[in-house]
């Protein structure tokens, strides 16, 4: 029983670490352009890095039919954009001050972060 309890506590610790404490690697935007796919319930890549004070062009391609993924919101930039299925949707980010700008779908089931530095 002790072993089971220890395993349970370790599992909880693992959940906390994996979902909250771990800082995933950001993918850097090259030539100020990046393609982000929306498929299978995620943005891919979801953690992206842009150069501060430089505009960047993000092209979203959605192949995921879930209605939630049809809207992209970037609350920090007051941006909301419909993303049609199986189409390229180009979003031009203005030059951003250093900081983190989360983006997500309408219900926040799909999440990502733009890190500007």
């Amino acid at each position: 029983m002790l072993l089971i309890n220890i395993s349970g506590v370790l599992l909880i610790a693992l959940i906390v670490w994996w979902f909250w404490l771990y800082k995933p690697q950001e993918i850097e935007v090259t030539n100020n352009k990046m393609v982000i796919r929306i498929e299978n319930g995620v943005y891919s890549p979801a953690h992206i890095k842009v150069k501060a004070d430089k505009a960047a062009v993000l092209t979203f391609i959605r192949t995921d039919s879930s209605p939630c993924s049809a809207t992209l919101l970037i609350p920090g930039l007051e941006m909301s954009q419909e993303i049609p299925l199986n189409k390229e949707t180009v979003i031009t980010l203005p030059p951003l001050a250093a900081g983190e700008y989360p983006f997500h779908c309408s219900m926040q089931m799909y999440r990502g972060v733009i890190k500007s530095e």
Partner: protein
């Protein structure tokens, strides 16, 4: 980058290469000889195989593999302008979205049937007392077959949950898929373990839960399918707006009338619209007179008469006459396109009330996972036998019942419907924050001129003194004043024109500064002016001085009109109160809102107007720059202030107020200038805006409350907190049904807002 949307079937190639053909609109091509020049310019661009111009339509189709920017540059170098035909109009995008949603709905329904086809018989078998435990070898083999069938259900009907969960997991995030995959996966793995290694599992816990896995997958697919359907209805308002724009337009080019797609209408094209047709682009009437129904944009039920020089707006309906107008705004620049853009943006923005739900959503799924682990441990440590089975059931049920979607949907769904509903009433709400604040307004500041009143002085009374008819008096007075530019004179002339009276030529016109004017018409000596002018000319007005004073007390400006040295009439001019201002102000006051009037006019006029519309609190002789101070004073008294003005003189006050309302005249809206724009002049728009905001916020609160309570009560119940007291433990299948329908309930509740009706007026 390519210049148009591309199918995913060729997405890799398409990202790098433009499509095979592209259509451009050419501007500035006035002669047929331009065709050769443009085609030659295009074929010289690398990658172009062929360029073919349709001169009548001013379009050119280019085939090959060239970038649109290179093509446009080549045309510009040849001396013309060009732009790409927007292949994806709002209507097309909407159409595609509806097709995609329908296809998704059908797929989900199929998946539901696959899940239920296995889950239902298994569940019924269990319910009628069938043995779901594994003891003999034959039972092991039979259940192994069922396990394999359940795996097929998971693969064919639930694969998207598992793939989504895995992808999220790799991204260090978790969502609804994670919970469903973990819940159904746990039930299946445990059941398979019972079959594969029964000896490792206590006798009493050798129970299989394949029915739970199959049923949950079926039910959640059903919930998602119904949600897709219900979501479609939340965007009805935007569909209606998009549907207003006709698909084609009749354009006159080189004296030939062409029916062309709306995307090809150019700036300054002359467009013909016949009675019963919709206005295809924004423009200014060049020829003809008509009445136009603008109710679909402004909510104003009365058609508006339009003459040469008046503006017409895309999507409105031409009722009576045939008109020719010059296109002044086309494509994405039309007022309708701007309204659609604004409504869409507002529909996707979130009011502050949703922030708490957002914070909770961000932590929700891992917290549920931790709760499931704690629940399993609690059962294993303290639960009765079979503790392992109880632990598995409770963990699975916790994972399945928790519904982050209901929380995530609560606010956006209501905002979507509420903002759309407001747009239907001619109220454009800029964002979710404005919507929320508008619902809490306690004081409404109204500017008098142009807001409560028409903003254009008119003749309101003609008290005849000499036996002529009112019309004859007005005709004579207007004829003499047609040479004057005084505001009173303009009001008299305009009133006569409105009544269709023809004006005669006045002779010897003489303006008497500060007093009035005189002139001669057909040998009649006419004199129009104030009391002093009449006294100076020895005209007896003694019987009408009281009449004039009474008119002044009613906020009107009286003038005397004499013919051949005899008083003919007292004419009163005033800025009339809009016909529905009194009712609309009553509606606001009935909502408990303190209504305050501000005006630059004198106290007497202000008092008269305020009394007439039922406002007890007013400030007269307020300079435009002092309006903001009055707003600040009210805020210091603790009021949440709405300020309504025309958006020009009142800009600082509008900006300072908690919610700034700009009153549009017709469809000429200052979309970006205020928190809320009223598309028509009526103050009912204000009352509508407040009513729809209150209804939306109430709806959001119901949704949030429901979603919170559902999760806060559901998760502990699923974990088994009621078991020690009442012996109650929730079945994972019931949890699956509850979860599937909880988010559907939120969408359906938001849809109830569609039934909201602004008060008839």
């Amino acid at each position: 980058m390519g210049y148009s949307a591309i199918d995913s079937t060729q997405e890799h190639a398409s990202l790098e290469q433009p499509p095979d053909s592209i259509e451009l609109i050419i501007e500035g091509a006035g002669c047929a000889s331009c065709v050769g020049k443009i085609e030659a310019a295009l074929t010289s661009v690398t990658g172009v195989q062929q360029a073919e111009m349709n001169f009548a339509a001013r379009t050119v189709t280019v085939s090959g593999q060239a970038e649109s920017s290179a093509l446009i540059q080549a045309i510009e170098q040849a001396g013309y302008n060009a732009r790409v035909v927007q292949s994806n109009s709002e209507a097309e995008l909407l159409d595609e979205k509806e097709h995609a949603d329908l296809a998704y709905y059908k797929t989900l329904m199929w998946k539901m049937w696959i899940g239920l086809a296995l889950g239902l018989p298994l569940m019924i078998y269990g319910l009628i007392g069938g043995d779901m435990t594994v003891t003999t070898t034959n039972e092991r083999l039979a259940w192994l077959l069922v396990g394999a069938l359940t795996f097929s259900v998971m693969f064919f009907a639930g694969k998207h949950f598992f793939v989504g969960a895995w992808q999220s997991f790799k991204n260090h995030s978790a969502n609804m898929d994670t919970l469903i995959a973990l819940g159904t996966g746990t039930a299946w793995v445990y059941s398979m373990a019972v079959i594969a290694v029964p000896d490792l599992i206590p006798d009493m816990a050798r129970h299989v839960y394949f029915e739970a896995t199959a049923m949950i997958i079926g039910l959640i697919n059903l919930g998602l399918a119904l949600e897709v359907k219900a979501r479609g209805r939340t965007s009805e308002a935007i569909k209606r707006l998009i549907g207003l724009q006709p698909k084609t337009a009749s354009v006159l080019r080189d004296d030939i009338e062409l029916d062309i797609p709306i995307e090809q209408v150019l700036l300054h094209d002359i467009v013909r619209v016949r009675p019963g047709e919709k206005i295809p682009v924004d423009g200014v009437i060049q020829e003809g007179q008509t009445a136009i129904d603008e109710s679909m944009l402004t909510g104003e039920p009365m058609p508006v008469v339009k003459n040469t020089g008046d503006e017409v707006t895309t999507g409105t309906l031409n009722k009576t006459g045939s008109i020719l107008f010059k296109a002044t705004r086309v494509g994405k620049d039309t007022a309708l396109a701007q309204i659609i853009k604004m409504v869409k943006r507002a529909q996707n923005s979130k009011p502050p009330i949703g922030r708490l739900a957002d914070v909770i959503s961000a932590y929700f799924v891992p917290v549920v996972m931790i709760t499931a682990v704690i629940s399993a441990l609690a059962w294993l440590n303290f639960g009765p036998e079979p503790a392992l089975a109880f632990a598995i059931v409770s963990a699975t049920t916790v994972l399945i019942i928790a519904c982050p979607c209901a929380l995530g949907l609560a606010t956006p769904m209501s905002v979507m419907v509420g903002v759309g509903k407001a747009a239907e009433a001619g109220v454009l709400i800029r964002n979710g924050a404005a919507l929320q604040t508008a619902s809490k307004i306690t004081a409404m500041v109204l500017d008098k001129t142009g807001t409560i009143t028409e903003g254009a002085p008119k003749v309101t009374d003609i008290v005849v003194a000499n036996g002529l008819t009112e019309e004859s008096i007005l005709q004579l007075a207007a004829s003499m004043e047609s040479s004057s530019e005084h505001p009173l004179a303009l009001a008299i002339v305009e009133s006569a024109v409105e009544k269709g009276l023809s004006l005669n030529r006045a002779e010897n016109f003489n303006a008497i500064a500060g007093h009035g004017a005189e002139a001669t018409i057909q040998s009649q000596r006419l004199l129009l002016g104030n009391e002093k002018l009449m006294h100076d000319r020895n005209i007896d007005i003694s019987g009408y001085i009281e009449t004039a004073q009474q008119l002044a007390r009613e906020a009107k400006t009286p003038v005397y009109f004499a013919i051949d040295e005899q008083l003919a009439a007292v004419i009163a001019v005033a800025d009339p109160i809009k016909h529905d201002s009194i009712d609309a102000i009553k509606r606001l006051q009935a909502n408990g809102i303190r209504v305050v009037m501000l005006t630059g006019d004198n106290r007497l006029t202000a008092k008269a107007v305020a009394e007439k519309v039922g406002i007890t609190e007013f400030f007269a002789e307020v300079l435009p720059e002092d309006k903001a101070k009055k707003v600040a004073e009210l805020q210091q008294q603790g009021e949440i202030v709405g300020m309504t003005g025309d958006g020009i003189n009142d800009a600082p006050a509008l900006a300072l107020a908690n919610v700034g309302f700009a009153i549009g005249t017709g469809t000429d809206v200052a979309i970006e200038s205020a928190d809320i724009t009223l598309m028509r002049g009526s103050l009912h728009g204000l009352a509508d805006a407040v009513a729809v905001s209150k209804a939306t916020l109430r709806n959001i609160k119901q949704n949030l409350f429901g979603a919170f309570i559902y999760n806060v009560a559901g998760v502990p119940f699923a974990a088994g907190v009621l078991y020690p007291f009442f012996g109650l433990l929730l079945s994972p299948v019931i949890a699956g049904a509850a979860m599937a329908f909880s988010s559907l309930t939120v969408v359906m509740n938001a849809n109830r807002l569609r039934l909201f009706k602004a008060k008839d007026h």
